[in-house]
Symmetry: D2
Subunit: 266 residues, 4 copies
């Protein structure tokens, strides 16, 4: 079971053009700051937030209770010119969890309903002890030499967007999500997927685009633990310390360096 929080700025669209359209550089500064703050504040409790559409954000929040959500919601109200609503849900797959979480917000009214403010609702029980997060940190082999140093900044960006969309579509079949996290990096909440699933997807993308992807897969009680494990897995592949393009590490077993249902020789 993974716990997902969907965060939505209340009635944001109308605000951006009232009384006149607001300066775009200010809006970009505002939205990126919200994203950064949410990462610091959920991050303080080992959660992880993805910017998604900036006015609708998706967070992995295993281990984070309702009171903490409410305190973050208050903090945004206290410092921003708008408020946020949050829906929280748990499910076997990340896709299913975000779907339930979105529905909890939608039940309370439209994103542009001016009376709907600071929704905080939960689809099902909180996962405080049980449950886990599985994250795949995916990147492109040799991206600096083959893309960044070679192509124009915009062509590299185009390439990243192509790969991202392809990953989104493939991974959705497994109930997984995948978000761009900068550079050539993608973070993929993927509870329930196996290494073979990733190997198959990466092989297919390699055949169709010539781009070789790799992934560290991390498993932990929280998004932070899982993401740390995924990062270390990715480093092991980069450094040639494991064979193949996928390496899974489980936070629980990491200290005793046991393998967790994985091809990765640790």
């Amino acid at each position: 079971m993974i716990q997902v929080t969907v965060i939505q700025i209340d009635n944001y669209g109308p605000w951006t053009v009232t009384p006149n359209p607001r300066r775009e550089s200010d809006l970009q500064a505002l939205q990126s700051r919200l994203y950064g703050d949410l990462n610091l504040q959920f991050g303080a409790h080992k959660g992880l937030v993805f910017y998604t559409r900036f006015d609708n954000l998706i967070a992995i929040t295993n281990g984070i209770d309702l009171e903490t959500h409410r305190r973050i919601q208050d903090s945004i109200k206290n410092r921003y010119p708008f408020t946020i609503s949050m829906g929280i849900a748990s499910a076997e797959t990340p896709y299913e969890a975000q779907k339930l979480a979105t529905e909890k917000i939608q039940e309370h009214g439209s994103a542009q309903d001016k009376y709907r403010k600071e929704v905080l609702d939960v689809a099902n029980d909180f996962i405080l002890e049980e449950g886990y997060v599985q994250l795949a940190h995916i990147d492109i082999n040799n991206v600096t030499k083959t893309l960044t140093d070679l192509e124009s900044a915009y062509d590299a960006y185009l390439r990243i967007n192509e790969i991202h969309l392809r990953l989104i579509k493939e991974l959705k079949k497994y109930g997984a999500m995948v978000f761009f996290i900068g550079g050539d990096n993608f973070m993929c909440p993927c509870n329930g997927m196996t290494e073979s699933d990733f190997i198959a997807i990466f092989g297919d993308i390699k055949d169709k685009t010539g781009v070789q992807l790799k992934a560290g897969i991390g498993i932990g009680k929280t998004a932070e633990d899982a993401s740390n494990m995924a990062d270390i897995g990715l480093e092991l592949i980069r450094e040639g310390k494991v064979e193949g393009q996928v390496c899974t590490l489980n936070y629980k077993n990491y200290n005793i360096r046991r393998k967790f249902n994985t091809l990765c020789p640790i």
Copy 2:
């Protein structure tokens, strides 16, 4: 002529994993803050920055001189754990300008060359007086009711990514770029394009996906002037004050409310 600045964090990839992979929520907070700060600092001089790949950003900088670039570069060094390089170029189309700008950075070495630091180089003369910026602010008709309030947060995100990639590919044919700026909004530097070009592209996307796009197109001496005009054009369409899905406004003529080569009845 449009002036584009390509901004690249120096040797960022290796830093993110030295000595160990850094916490992902911190990196997301750091990258989004850099993006926000660059928008405030270029925005102070009427420029506009797009996050692009977060470690490689693209800015529209007409009217912003070399000293101002250097002062922004210094300010980042003074407040961040890394430095940035910048390449600046002007061209008839945005795509061409970013290509020249990227090359100026690449000439000085790899993005992961640890000795290449704080490049600041210019491909050709600065556009201080001559030149102009043309920006199209594109959004999706009725997105709240058809997407945000109806679909799950992730499916809406998927949809936005599909449309974005389609726009990227179509607009590149015209030498234009297009960036996601949150919600259902895209900003498209598009010097040289006509309203008919957009009408054709939007018609084609409507046929293939059922999604109707619209665009306010703004023209001005700076990114801020152009973007303000584009925003007002989009509002005129939203409010039904102009017919069709495209409306162009020119900052120069805006006060005397004359039309600039446009279907838009102002």
Copy 3:
């Protein structure tokens, strides 16, 4: 017992002038951002930070354990061009606690020792369950009409500084600290002090300066709980709901609206 954390930027002075003095507006932006971030990050765990000297900050951290301190220390390293050291201590009075906490940092070397980095040391046991925080939120009666709307901005500032220094000196006799928190507001960690102590100090300041101070005093397990109670106490005085210039509320008893060793009729 109150728990205090002293935070010190490592080797900051030399950095600000290497290789040349850095732009002052950047340094002010950097220092204020550090202060804001530390408040968000300790605040996520119900702590409260005071800017103090900006490169040496003092935080009230009851209930915040060593691992959380370490994670905040890491987060600063991950996002700033410098690192921070922290000393943690508990004592009967705030003054004594900060003294012990400072000593834990000083033991490891000079603030400008370039090899002393990221000290994290604890003077005595962590207060996780036992212990409490007592905070007095002090302000000036009728400051807007008597000062802000009447005097020049700088004279008002001078006045605030005079009152602050007077409070610092008086309160130190009781082992209490007092920090400026904006406007005409001071926050005073004051475990062990009584309402009579404050009444005596305020009477004395009234006699000598003509300025009438008041204080909401809050007691709670954490800085946040205590500070919320102090704020409510201050509001009760402002609204004339209690008599006198001091009102104490205890978080533990607040819900059942009992009085806690206080003149305040709640």
Copy 4:
């Protein structure tokens, strides 16, 4: 002539307690962020802002015109839960300038008038070409060894506050202001003062407190130029490259390394 801008948050006090007192750590994060942003945004035009009372700030703004002020005012409205008012004035001394600037705000109503919003008013003509800024960057000799490494964090803070208040009172006699800028540093806008004035004041403070102060004094067209010169002057004293405790540098003459009415041998 020095140009000063007084910045005031509109109706801030009531907002902080509506509908209930807001969390103190959030308010501290909010206020420090405003301070940081104003420094970045005025800093983009070579101005410098001092936090003063956080809800009332004082900036040195020579060379910054009305439109730029308005754009900064808009940017705050676009990103914060409140708006700001600004009064701008020029005078022979900093104190006189801030007094005139404050009056321009006060004329429009009380700081807590809920209808008074976004005042932007100018007492006299803008100083765009003529005028200059003189800043003294003052610090304490050997502060790390005598204070930071020796005393408790709070006692060092007490000491800094004492010296600050003493400086405020002494310098006001000369029409100068002095602000704490972190560590053991003070920044003092001091148009019209001479090196002898500072030498006399520092001698007096040395006699009474045992603390030896020194100052780099910078002169330039903008706050940034003056502050850079002041910083370099201070470095020259620190490095023993000039005799005495005061060194003045003038930006205009700096490149040709001539002396400007100064004991400093450059």
